[in-house]
């Protein structure tokens, strides 16, 4: 026998001692969390923070470079980019919130159903989930937009529907894991009604992994919604949406790069921060990730 498996016990002890606050152990996570919270603050307090009205056009200040009265410059309509970015955070997070709400609810219902049924019902439900997953979320969202039309609310619905599939898949695997555990079987033996089992035993145990999933998928929702706007089929102008702003600045890249650049940096910063936060949360709390590192 090698020694490899012997000294694990003291290592684990050492790890427990090191289990101080995850904020100290993961400095990047902490910084990213602060950035993400900063964006949320921008979204909530947009009217207080933004120096200008985000849709106020000005002929005198068209395409002003960053600096001076307009910190991040203005766009081709003379709208203040900083203010639009701050309000843009509001739209981005609002859409993401409702999209996640729709996606998580739909995924919870479909995933729980697929996880608890057996036989051909399960088989059919699985094929339905497969079918939803066969469409990339952006393409599915585009299809929904084609039916619903454009607008903030429509984008939220479209993105939400596009996220049902991924949520359903993870919820199903969580349900399978929970229901294979002894206490659910025991509850089943004690002839408690099925609904009670679901409500009392299964749901509470999948809420936590679902929460982890939500934090991981917020960035996906933001990315898809801004992508729709970038393609020009999401939110309609003059709504201050980052994707829209990036698209509007695309034609002016050679002489006013800040028009696309500033909202683009804001979007990239938020997405990267959310990715780091998501990774951190998943590594800390996802039981499936534990032991991997």
């Amino acid at each position: 026998m090698t020694m490899t498996d012997d000294p694990i016990a003291p290592q684990r002890r050492a790890r427990k001692q090191a289990r101080r606050s995850m904020f100290i152990r993961r400095p990047f996570f902490t910084v990213s969390l602060i950035v993400a919270v900063g964006f949320v603050a921008c979204a909530v307090f947009a009217p207080l923070i933004a120096p200008y009205d985000p849709v106020q056009q000005s002929i005198t200040a068209m395409m002003a470079p960053p600096g001076g009265a307009h910190l991040l410059g203005t766009d081709s309509y003379g709208q203040d980019i900083l203010s639009r970015i701050i309000y843009g955070a509001r739209y981005a997070l609002l859409i993401a919130f409702f999209a996640i709400l729709i996606g998580a609810t739909g995924g919870l219902i479909l995933g729980t159903a697929a996880g608890l049924t057996t036989g051909w019902v399960e088989w059919v439900l699985l094929r339905v989930i497969d079918s939803i997953l066969a469409l990339p979320s952006l393409i599915l969202a585009i299809a929904v937009i084609a039916i619903l039309g454009q607008g903030v609310d429509k984008v939220a619905i479209a993105v939400g529907i596009s996220m049902i599939g991924p949520f359903a898949r993870t919820v199903r695997s969580d349900v399978l894991q929970v229901s294979s555990q002894l206490f659910v079987e025991a509850a089943g033996l004690m002839s408690i009604t099925r609904l009670t089992v679901i409500w009392r035993h299964i749901l509470p145990n999948i809420v936590f992994p679902l929460g982890v999933q939500i934090t991981v998928r917020v960035s996906e929702a933001i990315l898809v919604s801004s992508s729709l706007s970038f393609l020009g089929i999401g939110v309609t102008p003059p709504t201050p949406d980052w994707g829209l702003m990036i698209a509007e600045g695309r034609g002016f890249v050679s002489f006013a790069p800040w028009m696309s650049g500033m909202p683009g940096i804001a979007l990239a910063l938020l997405l990267i921060a959310l990715a780091i936060v998501g990774d951190g949360i998943r590594e800390e709390f996802d039981p499936k990730m534990r032991g991997h590192q």
Binding site: A134, P136, L140, A143, I145
Partner: protein
């Protein structure tokens, strides 16, 4: 093995049918009457009825679906409302080749960059290289591709002036010009995928390198490079191929965005144009095509497993 394969193929067929039903209902759910759309604002009741019958829209929905599916499979996708051109011919000869070329280039690029980075990361686990590559991979996966495209355009076209920025030149007509036009779009599209491949490669390789057969290969004098690239690499092919299949959807959706950024006339432009112009048949075609492509590629991935891992072959 044969039984598993046929079960898998049957599942795939069912999924395709569900997707086709969804695509078909897209047309039914879409606002506006296709007959009215085709006739324009001025029409008589007679001509309306005539066209409706001609399109088969007076039939029961189930029959309409069967007809539609038959037409779709045989390549009769109808004409675009506005341009009156044959949609199938347009998609197959124009849009699809562009998207597939771009996608293929991006996948190849991502593999060529991502796999070596992932392997280096695994071999030098916890080194500065590993940390750096992990940071790069995370940024790559999180960075919005359409903004990355604009940054690349800004840098290479405006600042450096090296690459042609916009448009598509078919590589099968002018290979070098075509490739040059594809460099920036493919780079844009592949960045996210590089990150994915790095992560999967690293995770798989770290696990493989701990296996006794790797130690045994070292012990019997195999040189370091061969241990990693032959003994190790052969064993991570399965997760690698799996992630390529699963991420194909993400690549296709990235292609939609990349095409818009670089004005490439592919499926993405077709889709956005169709949504804005309310050309539902085109949207439907795009949706069906993407899903079918994804489903078939993943079927191929599933069926390839026995070839990648001898242990899965029939005994």
């Amino acid at each position: 093995m044969l039984r598993q394969a046929s079960a898998k193929i049957f599942q795939t067929l069912v999924v395709l049918v569900i997707v086709s039903i969804a695509s078909f209902s897209l047309l039914k759910l879409a606002p506006g009457d296709p007959v009215v759309l085709m006739l324009g604002s001025e029409y008589s009741q007679d001509s309306y009825d005539e066209l409706q019958a001609q399109l088969g829209l007076d039939q029961p929905v189930a029959l309409q679906y069967v007809r539609w599916l038959r037409d779709f499979v045989t390549g009769d996708w109808g004409n675009s409302y506005v341009a009156k051109t044959d949609i199938f011919a347009f998609v197959v000869t124009q849009a699809l080749p562009v998207t597939l070329t771009l996608t293929a280039c991006a996948i190849v690029l991502a593999i060529l960059i991502g796999v070596p980075l992932g392997v280096v990361s695994a071999v030098r686990k916890d080194s500065a290289w590993d940390v750096g590559i992990a940071a790069f991979a995370l940024t790559g996966t999180a960075f919005p591709s359409f903004f990355l495209g604009i940054v690349l355009i800004w840098f290479f076209a405006v600042k450096v002036g090296f690459f042609p920025v916009m448009g598509f030149v078919a590589p099968w007509e002018d290979f070098w010009s075509g490739m040059l036009h594809l460099v920036l779009p493919a780079l844009t599209l592949s960045t996210f995928f590089i990150g994915m491949i790095v992560r999967v490669t690293r995770a798989a390789m770290v696990e493989v390198l701990e296996q006794p057969y790797i130690t045994a290969a070292i012990a019997r004098g195999e040189p370091h490079r061969r241990v990693i690239w032959v003994h190790g690499f052969r064993n991570i092919l399965m997760p690698l191929v799996t992630v390529i299949g699963l991420q194909l959807g993400a690549i296709l959706q990235g292609a939609v965005l990349t095409e818009t950024v670089f004005s490439l006339p592919g499926l993405g432009q077709m889709l956005t144009g169709a949504v804005l112009g309310r050309e539902y048949v085109l949207v439907q075609a795009g949706v069906m095509l993407t899903a079918t492509l994804f489903i078939l590629v993943n079927l191929a991935v599933d069926l390839s497993y026995p070839f990648l891992d001898p242990r899965l072959r029939a005994r």
